[in-house]
């Protein structure tokens, strides 16, 4: 390395950041003393000194700590590697889903607020679910109750887990997917034969509507609406079975 070379921006920044050893530092001190344009360059670079730590300290205060702590508290214990492995795979799967769908949902909501579109967004999400995505989830009553309370608050509902039980499929998790302030509740079930299934709901004021079906990503969808919400049930079950379940749910949910 040529000691006489003009220090680069990288070296000047390292100088500002106090990341140089004594010898390198002395060399730059000397170069600055001899070269006023270099000194100006250093001052220019120093303009980028900003109160980074303070700014991001404010951001950290916005972290949803309650939810994160709850998540951490309900992670399976690390003493059970077999279960752990499965949990991890499932979490990785749901993580990827979250990332992919966050974009799709967001773009979708931006480009169109049509009421039909939300079903496509949910279907995008569900098409990525496999049984392992849901198998590991804790299904204790307390956490499910807490999940439902969150949905109630966001969507103006009053859900009870007894209204949501289905004969064959197991209730696994209720969560809010939220993009641009538009919340969609997703209540997932695991059917022993047909795999993941979900009941989803979002606010809608386009009026009450009777059952209709469609297919999306190879899954069956049964959807309906009441005065304030649009609902859909989506899964790989045959459409007749799905509609039977939808009827049960709709009756219970409208009381």
């Amino acid at each position: 390395m040529n000691d006489r070379a003009t220090p680069s921006d990288e070296q000047l920044v390292a100088y500002l950041d106090d990341q140089l050893d004594v010898e390198q530092r002395t060399r730059i001190d000397t170069a600055i003393a001899e070269d006023s344009t270099l000194n100006l360059r250093l001052q220019w670079l120093a303009r980028s000194n900003l109160p980074f730590k303070q700014a991001y300290a404010e951001m950290a205060q916005q972290a949803p700590l309650d939810r994160l702590q709850f998540m951490l508290d309900t992670l399976p214990s690390p003493e059970r590697p077999a279960l752990n492995r499965r949990w991890f795979l499932a979490a990785a799967a749901s993580l990827v889903v979250g990332g992919v769908v966050a974009d799709r949902l967001f773009l979708g909501w931006q480009s169109s607020q049509q009421t039909t579109n939300w079903r496509g967004l949910v279907a995008d999400y569900m098409s990525l679910y496999v049984p392992e995505t849901l198998e590991h989830l804790p299904s204790d009553e307390a956490s499910q109750r807490a999940q439902l309370r969150l949905i109630d608050t966001r969507l103006g509902l009053n859900l009870a887990s007894t209204q949501l039980t289905l004969p064959r499929s197991e209730f696994k998790r209720a969560q809010i997917l939220e993009y641009e302030g538009v919340p969609i509740a997703q209540i997932t079930y695991l059917d022993p034969t047909h795999g993941p299934m979900a009941l989803c709901v979002t606010r809608s004021n386009s009026g009450s509507r009777h059952f209709a079906h469609e297919r999306r990503h190879g899954m069956n969808v049964v959807y309906w609406a009441d005065m304030e919400h649009a609902w859909m049930l989506i899964g790989h079950s045959p459409v007749a079975e799905l509609e039977d379940m939808a009827k049960v749910l709709r009756t219970r949910l409208s009381t």
Binding site: D9, R47, A55, P78, L95
Partner: protein, 165 residues
Amino acid sequence: MGQHLARLWRYGLLLSRQRHVAEDLVQATCVRALERAGQYVPGTRMDRWLLSILHSIWLNEVRARRVRQGQGVVDADSQLSFDGEHAAQTHVLAAQVIRRVDALPEAQRETVYLAYVEGLSYREVAEVLQVPMGTVMSRLAAARVKLAEYPPLHAVPNPFTGERR
């Protein structure tokens, strides 16, 4: 691990620019940390270790998957991080700093974040990001050239004394 949750979330938000993804990243990081608890060297900084796990999950799984699917990465303009009510919660000066950092390309953004927000040394940044030190230096220099071009922060009554760090 609990004490690091807010910082992990903040890093996840810096990378993904989406609150929902940030939460998922924290969860996956905790899961993997528990799974690999045996690899954690007692006496070393656990926060550094967790940051590096989160970084690798983002880079190798989430971001990679999104790019492969042709969705790329969310533009700074369309980000969800600081719109609406959240902007109101964030002090105006802090918001200016965060916006400027957010406008940097991802590699520079996270390097700036680890060095100047988390306060890591160049060597530690290089370890978390798994890149050579020279790369850390060139990213910081490029980022600082861009940041230097902005006018000074608007001088509303300034609660921050001094400048960087």
